[in-house]
């Protein structure tokens, strides 16, 4: 119980640290929210008045403290760009990004595990060699470019979906999922390649272990050894990696949402940073950070479970 409490404490501390960094970041980067709001009407006097009105004239630490306490009370603040509560601005966008990320993650898990095993099984066959090279190539394609290629091939040539015409979740869940499949592919393909490659490497290194040699000496075929002994052991580090990659996926969705015109958190984050709409940006940063931090924790725990000799906590 105490361990859980301690872990939760540390987790919250990390989130506090992240939001603190984000707060500082907005202090450092040029471009003041008042400038963006005032546009060509900017005069030092008006800016000063607006800063006071927005509470920006106060010390950054005071403002951070105020923000944190409000956030803990469930008050996420008011968006500068939209003059409405951040909660309102985020409404509906969280679900879209969550669905997209989960879909990509499921794709990664469902495809990369069998693929990684197959790559080892057919290591010396053409399938293994071609698969391995293809993997390397997939890993080398930037996701925004992959997004454009997928749009072109599946959207414009094969007409499997209409690029740019996203169906909102509440309108039709099936239609929405059908559209999101393509951005999910753009996110997951490079990750599938990485995971499969990792699993393959993990299996190969596991096969050098003594117990495998023992199994061989008992007359088991290579495939039997892989299937019965190796995969289970080799899978554990991969699971750790998969836990961490969900965080990575949430981050990649930022780019892919732009390409596929998906109205999710990613587009909002990018827009709010450009417009210096800090309340919105901070909220999204904290949300994404939560996913990353929680997933990293799980990864840590899993690593420990894999190899109890490792003492990380």
């Amino acid at each position: 119980m105490q361990v859980v409490l301690k872990k939760t404490g540390v987790l919250l501390l990390t989130l506090l640290l992240v939001s603190g960094f984000a707060f500082l970041a907005f202090e450092i980067i040029p471009g003041d929210p008042t400038t963006m709001l005032l546009g060509s009407d900017y005069t030092p006097e008006r800016a000063a008045a607006l800063r006071e009105e927005m509470g920006l004239d106060r010390n950054v630490f005071l403002r951070f403290f105020a923000w944190v306490t409000a956030f803990l009370r469930g008050d996420m603040g008011t968006s500068y760009s939209y003059a409405m509560p951040v909660r309102e601005v985020l409404r509906g966008k969280i679900a879209v990004t969550a669905v997209l990320s989960l879909m990509s993650w499921v794709l990664v898990v469902a495809v990369s595990v069998p693929l990684g095993i197959a790559l080892v099984r057919y290591q010396h066959k053409p399938f293994g060699l071609i698969g391995n090279s293809l993997n390397q190539v997939l890993m080398a394609i930037p996701s925004f470019f992959l997004g454009i290629l997928l749009t072109y091939v599946f959207g414009l040539v094969l007409k499997l979906f209409t690029p740019g015409r996203f169906v909102p979740l509440e309108e039709s869940a099936a239609g929405s999922l059908g559209y999101l499949l393509f951005p999910a592919l753009a996110i997951s393909l490079p990750k599938i390649a990485k995971t499969a490659r990792l699993l393959r490497a993990s299996i190969l290194s596991e096969m050098k272990r003594d117990y495998v040699l023992t199994a061989y000496s008992h007359g088991s075929s290579r495939w039997m050894v892989i299937k019965n002994h190796v995969v289970r052991n080799a899978l554990l580090p991969v699971i750790t990696y998969l836990a961490m990659s969900l965080a990575d996926i949430v981050a990649s969705s930022i780019i892919v949402e732009q390409v596929f015109v998906v109205p999710g958190l990613g587009r909002l984050l990018v827009a709010s940073i450009s417009n210096r709409d800090y309340p919105v940006a901070l909220c999204i940063v904290v949300m994404i950070a939560s996913v990353v931090v929680v997933m990293n924790y799980l990864a840590d725990i899993l690593t420990q479970a894999v190899d109890p000799r490792v003492r990380l906590m």
Binding site: V10, L13, T14, L17, V18, F21, A22, A25, I28, I29, P30, Q123, H124, S133, Q136, V137, M139, A140, I141, P142, S143, F144, F145, I148, Y152, K194, R197, L198, R200, A201, S202, L204, S205, P237, T240, Y241, A247, A251, I254, I255, L269, V270, I273, A281, V285, I288, A289, V292, V293, N296, T303, D307, R309, V310, R311, L312
Partner: protein
Amino acid sequence: MIDTKDRTFRVGAGITAFMLVLILLGALWTPYDPNAMNAAEKMASPSLRHLFGTDNFGRDIFSRVLQGTGSTFLIALCSVGLGLLAGLLIGGLTGFYGGWVDEVLMRLNDSVTAFPSLLLALVLIAVFHSGRYNIILALGIIFIPSFARIVRTEVARQKALDYVANAKLMGVKDMRILFVHIMPNILPVLLSSVAIGFNNAVLAEASMSYLGLGVQPPDASLGRMLSEAQTYLLRAPWYALFVGLAIVLLVLGFGLLSEGLGGDGHA
């Protein structure tokens, strides 16, 4: 199994050597001035005159690929190197000693990982100012957490092994154990993450250039050229194709090389 590795290594080495020759060639000579524009030859398709065709300003894409591969390679190599060095140091120490330092550094690490790289890049530009090679610093910093995490896990794993306990019993100093005994054992594991990092660097360079970090136009870099090429995907598909090919070869060569060297660790 041995000969597969060997073959992988040889293919990787061959591709990398080929790319290095191209980079060297690009540094010394290009068929055209990579920045020279020509209104009469905009968007020309590949021909003997222009091997890879020309871009929207009539610039020779082959010359630009030669030049761009060089700058991209340099940026990727240096930033991964920087991230790796810092990662080794941070991850090594925290993994070896554990305790509250480990806890604090790993939380810091988590915070940086969880931080949107767009915001991080903007902060770095504000601090270091935009410029041709500041991207190395920025990308290097972005890479530190992932390297540190891997190194930490590996060091912690190694620490529990007998040889470390033996060395301790023999009175070898901690630093010596860490850097002389443990590090060489985890390097192979790091190789694949270096390959992946190299890959990420090439890709990140494209988006960073757009924010004003890194190679500024009109100078060529593969990442920047790829984002330019996407505008002309329908009209001049060869533009994206040749640039993409250069990126793939660069990354592929490194990937195979690291795999051939035995880098099949846990990235």
